[in-house]
């Protein structure tokens, strides 16, 4: 199952490469007992699409978390800042 997740961290280049001291990553939320890997990045909008797998209960939990909240609400819940981009202070 695929989900869009907001990104945080510092983008150094549109290579893309992230700052080793502040990597580009999903916001600081524990997504539960699931495995995921990134399948695509939307750096303009600060989002990553992830492919998630896990037990049914864990999948339901992540679905409610990511689809039941707006991007801003997810940032607020995580306490993570928005993705910093090159040339944008």
């Amino acid at each position: 199952m695929k989900f869009l997740v907001p990104l945080t961290g510092t983008l150094l280049t549109y290579g893309p490469t992230g700052d080793p001291d502040d990597p580009v990553r999903v916001i600081d939320l524990d997504l539960g007992d699931v495995e995921w890997h990134a399948v695509g990045f939307d750096l303009e909008n600060g989002l990553v699409e992830i492919e998630v797998s896990g037990a049914e209960a864990a999948m339901l939990k992540i679905k409610q978390l990511l689809e039941g909240n707006t991007v801003q609400e997810l940032y607020d819940m995580s306490g993570s800042p928005r993705l910093k981009k090159p040339g944008v202070s």
């Binding site: 961290g9 150094l12 280049t13 549109y14 290579g15 893309p16 490469t17 992230g18 700052d19 080793p20 990597p23 580009v24 990553r25 999903v26 600081d28 524990d30 997504l31 007992d33 699931v34 495995e35 995921w36 890997h37 990134a38 990045f41 896990g54």
Partner: protein, 188 residues
Amino acid sequence: MRDPSLEAIVAANDDYRKGYHDGNAGGLRAVDTDLAVGNIRQGKTVFGLPGTVAAYHDDAWDGGIQSAGLSTVSHKYTETDIDAGDNYQYTGHPLTVVEGAVIEAFGMAHVLAEAINKLKMQLLIGGVLVAESGYISTTGYSVKTVMGYREGLAAGDYTVALEVKNYDTETRWVRRISYYLGEGSVSA
């Protein structure tokens, strides 16, 4: 007298009836030029022709393996404290890739964790988090793996790193026996 008349061996079909063919001085390679070493997989021999095509070759893929490696980033028994919400990173070798390249990587750890369902493994490529494992779900020794990739990269150097992320609200330790990173890149 040819009765019935002899037939030529042709590439178009495999109909090779007894007593009906008059042969070809050029051999089967003259009959069908597709019978060539470059069309036969390495390790196989067809009508005496040893194949030269590497096993990983795919005609639809015009690139090739650009680089690959295995980094043993730690292989000794040590203990690391990880603050709440923080992570601990092990860095592999940098890969230099060309425009449009793909990097695929995996991280594997043999660890002993202090807490159940509080710690996860993460994989980063070029300072970008690309994958996360499920929880380390035992306080006994366990092996955890995480795999991910990035594609359509700009030319440059990309370092692969493996992290342990602590999702707990208090400091936790991990004891590690070994961490391995495998990295490979292919050109587009």
